[in-house]
C-alpha cells in the first residue's frame, strides 16, 4: 500500500467514522482515535455482511492445494479459513448451540462418515442461525445426499454422473463445458463456459431455490461408459419415479435461501472449484469461467452480493410528519420504507433505490390495497406511497413482502388501527342542513323576543286582563 493510499484510507475511514458516529465536526481527532480507525480498517476487509470466519471441511484425499486458486482468492478478500477433515472432532462447527464460524464450506463429497458435530441436523441448525453453507456432492451416496432432498433437490441414483456427448471434444463425456446463463442475478455479468463434472439435480417446485448453473440441454445422468448402455438409459426413463435426469432443467449449482436469510449453495461436483478446471482451456482455447464463477458463487453464498435489508419504516398522515397511533377511515396516509444494500467493496450498507416491483399491502385479514411502492425521487434508499385508507375500520397492517431469486428477502409489517371518525370529526355545516339550522335559530330568536316582550310589555288592556282574572 503506497503512502498515498494509506492516507486516502485514513481519510475515508475518518469520514466514515464521522458520519457513522455523528462526532462533532469541531472535535479534534487524537492519534489514538486514528489507531482505532486502523483497527476498523482491518475489520472492514471482511467483505461478507455476516462475518469472515470460514470453516473448510476437506476430504482426506484432497488437499488444499487442489483448490488453491479458490481458497487464496477467498483469503485475499479477507476471509479467515480454517481447515479440517470430516472426521476431525475439532474445531467443531457448532458448540453450545452457538455457530463457531460465519460460513462453512463442505468439500468432502467422498466421505461417508463425519464426526458427530456435522450431521444433516446440525447443518440445518447452522443455516437457521444465519451461517452460510457451500456444499459439494458427488455421485457417491453420502449423508449429504439425503440432506439435499430437504432443499428440494433430487439427486440421481448413486453412481450416475452427468454425461454429455455435446459438443464433440477430447475430454471424457463426464467432463463437460457448461455455458453460463448471462442473466443470472448471482453471477457477475456473462462468463465463458465453465468445466463441470459431477451429478445434476432435478428441482422440486420450491421458489426458495436459486438456480445458478443449469445443465446443457443435451446432457443426462447415466452410469454407462459405452454405447451398449443405451438400453439401460431407456429403461431408467421407463422405470417411472423421477424418470431420467436429462435436459437443461437440471441444476448443477443451485443456491437456496432460507426465510431467515441464511444461504446454502449446492454444487454437483467439487472439481468445479479446482485449480485443474480453472486452468483447463475451453474448446475454443480460452480461459474457462471457473475461477470467476467460483468466486461469484462464494460471494453470493457468503452474503456479499445480493444482500438487502430493511432499515426501517414509518407512516404518517399526509399533512404531518410524525406517525399517529391510529388512523381514521378515508385518511390520506404516507408510508415510507428505507432499504439498504450491502456493498462488499466498502463493507458498508448503502441506501439502495434500485428495487423495482416492490409492493405495499394494506391488510386486514386480506389485503384491501396492494400497490407499487416506488422509490422516492431524490432520496436514496427510500420508497414511499401515499394512499387513502379504506372506509373499513379494524386493525390493519402495512405489509411489505419482497422476494426475488438471488436477493435477500425483505419483509416488514407494521400494525396500525383504523377507526371510524370520532363524534366531532364528521363533516359539519352541510348545505342540506341549512333549513334545520334556520329553524333552530328562528326558534331561539322567537323565544328571546317572546321573553323580552313578556317582561317589557305593558298590557294594552289592563282592565280587561284584570276583569278576566277577577272573573
Amino acid at each position: 500500500m503506497s503512502t498515498w493510499s494509506v492516507a486516502r484510507w485514513l481519510q475515508l475511514i475518518q469520514h466514515w467514522q464521522l458520519r457513522k458516529r455523528c462526532l462533532h465536526s469541531s472535535a479534534m481527532v487524537s492519534p489514538w482515535r486514528f489507531l482505532s480507525f486502523l483497527g476498523f480498517a482491518a475489520a472492514a476487509l471482511a467483505k461478507s455482511s455476516t462475518g469472515n470466519s470460514v470453516l473448510v471441511v476437506l476430504d482426506p484425499g484432497s488437499s488444499r492445494d487442489n483448490f488453491s486458486r479458490f481458497f487464496d482468492g477467498l483469503e485475499a478478500r479477507g476471509y479467515e479459513l480454517t481447515f479440517r477433515t470430516p472426521k476431525d472432532a475439532h474445531p467443531a462447527v457448532i458448540e453450545h448451540d452457538h455457530p463457531e464460524y460465519s460460513h462453512v464450506i463442505l468439500f468432502a463429497p467422498e466421505s461417508k462418515t463425519y464426526s458427530s458435530d456435522i450431521t444433516p441436523q446440525s447443518l440445518v441448525t447452522l443455516l437457521s442461525k444465519n451461517t452460510n453453507l457451500l456444499i459439494a456432492v458427488s455421485p457417491k451416496a453420502t449423508p449429504l445426499t439425503s440432506l439435499a432432498a430437504e432443499f428440494s433437490l433430487i439427486l440421481p441414483p448413486p453412481g450416475t454422473p452427468l454425461v454429455s456427448h455435446f459438443p464433440e471434444r477430447d475430454t471424457p463425456a463426464t467432463v463437460i463445458p457448461v455455458d453460463v446463463s448471462p442473466s443470472n442475478p448471482v453471477l457477475s455479468g456473462s462468463l465463458p463456459p465453465v468445466w463441470f463434472s459431477g451429478v445434476p439435480f432435478a428441482f422440486n417446485s420450491n421458489p426458495h431455490i436459486v438456480p445458478i448453473l443449469n445443465a446443457p440441454p443435451q446432457s443426462f445422468a447415466a452410469d454407462s461408459d459405452a454405447d451398449s448402455g443405451a438400453d439401460a438409459v431407456v429403461e431408467a426413463a421407463d422405470k417411472g419415479g423421477e424418470g431420467l435426469w436429462a435436459g437443461s432443467s437440471l441444476g448443477l449449482v443451485a443456491g437456496f435461501q432460507t426465510l431467515g436469510g441464511g444461504r446454502a449453495t449446492w454444487v454437483g461436483g467439487v472439481d468445479l472449484f479446482s485449480d485443474e478446471y480453472a486452468q483447463k482451456p475451453t474448446l475454443d482455447g480460452n480461459k474457462p469461467g471457473n475461477e470467476q464463477f467460483a468466486a461469484d458463487v462464494a460471494a453470493w453464498t457468503f452474503q456479499e452480493t445480493g444482500v438487502l435489508r430493511v432499515d426501517g419504516s414509518t407512516h404518517h398522515h399526509v399533512n404531518e410528519t410524525t406517525p399517529r397511533d391510529r388512523y381514521t377511515i378515508n385518511d390520506r396516509v404516507t408510508y415510507t420504507l428505507r432499504v439498504s444494500k450491502y456493498n462488499p467493496t466498502s463493507a458498508e450498507w448503502e441506501p439502495y433505490s434500485g428495487i423495482d416491483g416492490m409492493q405495499l399491502e394494506f391488510t386486514m385479514l386480506d389485503p384491501h390495497i396492494r400497490t407499487a411502492l416506488q422509490p422516492t425521487p431524490g432520496v436514496p434508499g427510500e420508497y414511499s406511497l401515499t394512499f387513502r385508507v379504506p372506509d373499513r375500520h379494524g386493525v390493519f397492517k402495512f405489509n411489505v413482502d419482497y422476494k426475488r431469486k438471488g436477493w435477500s428477502y425483505l419483509q416488514s409489517t407494521t400494525v396500525v388501527p383504523v377507526v371510524p371518525p370520532r363524534h366531532d370529526e364528521y363533516p359539519r355545516f352541510l348545505s342540506p342542513a341549512w333549513p334545520y339550522y334556520a329553524g333552530a335559530i328562528s326558534t331561539s330568536a322567537a323565544f328571546l323576543a317572546f321573553c323580552a316582550l313578556w317582561l317589557a310589555g305593558d298590557s294594552a288592556e289592563p282592565k280587561k286582563s284584570k276583569s278576566t282574572k277577577s272573573d
Binding site: 409492493q359 372506509d391 333549513p435 334556520a438 328562528s442 323580552a452 317589557a456
Partner: protein, 297 residues
C-alpha cells in the same frame, strides 16, 4: 481420450492419403486438425417418417421428414397418436448403429419448459416412438398453446454427436403444474384497489337555501300582527328587566357558540357561571313584573 485419437487415425486413413515420408509430428498435427474438421463417423438418421393417427385409426397425416427443412407444424388432437420412425446410421457408410443417447427433446421456447424422452433403438439402429395424447408420457412438459420444438439428440461414445430439429408440434394445452404456495411472493402480484362507498348525494344548495329561507315565514306573520297590535314595550330598557333579557340572550349566544366551536365541558362551565347572575336577574325581573302587574290591581 483414445476414441479421439482413433477417430483421428481413422480420419487420416480414410480421407487423407499422406505420404509415408511425412514426419510423425506433422502426422499428429494433421490428426488434430482432422478431429476438429472431420465427421468421419458422424451419426445421422435415415428414412425418418411420422404418422398422425386419429382415435378411430384413420390416418390424418403421414410424411417423410427432411433433416434440412422443417415440415409444417404438426397438430395433435386430444386422443391422436403420433408415430415417429427412423433409423440411426453412420453418416458415411449408412450402417445402422445403436448410439448411447437417442433422445427426443420437447422444448417450449416461450415458457422454457422442457421434456426429454429417450427412444429405444435396436442394435440395428431402428427406432420407433409413439406419442399417444390420450396417455401422454410424463416426459412431455406442461404445455400451453405455444408449439413445442421437437429435436432429436444423438450422442455416442464412439461417434460424433448430432442434433436435428425435426418439427414443431402443437398439442392440447395441459393443466399448469401446481405452484408452490410461496411462489406468488416471487413476482409482482396483481394490484388491489379498495372500492370506496359512494359519496352521499347532496341536494342543490339553491334548494337548501330556499327552504332555509322558507323556515322564516312565521316571522312575516309575526311582523304583520305586530303592526296590527302594535304592543308597547315601555319596560324593555328598565334596569330591572334588561339584565335578565341580556343574560337570556347570553345563554342563546353560548349555545350558538357551542354549536360552532365549544366542547360540552366548556359549555357546562360557562353556563354554570352564567346561571348565577341569570337566576338573580330573573328573580328580580319576575318579581318586578309581578309587582307591576299585581300593583295595578
Amino acid at each position: 481420450m483414445w476414441r479421439d485419437t482413433s477417430s483421428a487415425l481413422k480420419a487420416l486413413t480414410s480421407s487423407h492419403s499422406l505420404p509415408a515420408t511425412m514426419s510423425l509430428a506433422l502426422r499428429f498435427v494433421f490428426a488434430l486438425l482432422a478431429v476438429a474438421a472431420a465427421h468421419a463417423a458422424s451419426l445421422s438418421i435415415a428414412s425418418p417418417r411420422f404418422t398422425i393417427t386419429a382415435p378411430d385409426a384413420s390416418q390424418l397425416r403421414s410424411q417423410q421428414l427432411s433433416l434440412t427443412e422443417k415440415p409444417d407444424a404438426l397438430t395433435l388432437g386430444q386422443a391422436d397418436v403420433l408415430k415417429l420412425t427412423f433409423q440411426v446410421v453412420e453418416q458415411e457408410e449408412g450402417k445402422g448403429v445403436q448410439p448411447h443417447q437417442t433422445f427426443l427433446r420437447f422444448h417450449d421456447e416461450v415458457t422454457g419448459e422442457e421434456g426429454v424422452q429417450p427412444v429405444r433403438v435396436t442394435p440395428g439402429g431402428k427406432a420407433k416412438f409413439e406419442l399417444n395424447m390420450a396417455r401422454p408420457p410424463t416426459s412431455l412438459p406442461p404445455t400451453t398453446t405455444n408449439p413445442l420444438k421437437v429435436s432429436l439428440i444423438l450422442g455416442s461414445f464412439t461417434h460424433s454427436p448430432a442434433q436435428y430439429e425435426l418439427f414443431d408440434l402443437y398439442v392440447p394445452a395441459s393443466q399448469s403444474p401446481p405452484a408452490h404456495p410461496d411462489e406468488a411472493a416471487f413476482a409482482p402480484r396483481p394490484e388491489i384497489t379498495h372500492t370506496f362507498r359512494p359519496e352521499q348525494r347532496i341536494p342543490a344548495k339553491a334548494v337548501s337555501a330556499f327552504f332555509a329561507a322558507f323556515v322564516f315565514w312565521p316571522w312575516l306573520v309575526l311582523v304583520g300582527f305586530w303592526f296590527e297590535i302594535s304592543p308597547r314595550v315601555p319596560h324593555l330598557f328598565s334596569p330591572h328587566t334588561l339584565p335578565f333579557t341580556v343574560s337570556l340572550a347570553a345563554f342563546e349566544v353560548l349555545l350558538f357558540w357551542y354549536w360552532v366551536d365549544l366542547r360540552l365541558g366548556q359549555v357546562l362551565l360557562y353556563g354554570g357561571i352564567l346561571a348565577v347572575p341569570t337566576a338573580f336577574a330573573g328573580k328580580q325581573a319576575l318579581a318586578k313584573a309581578s309587582e307591576r302587574r299585581l300593583g295595578r290591581k
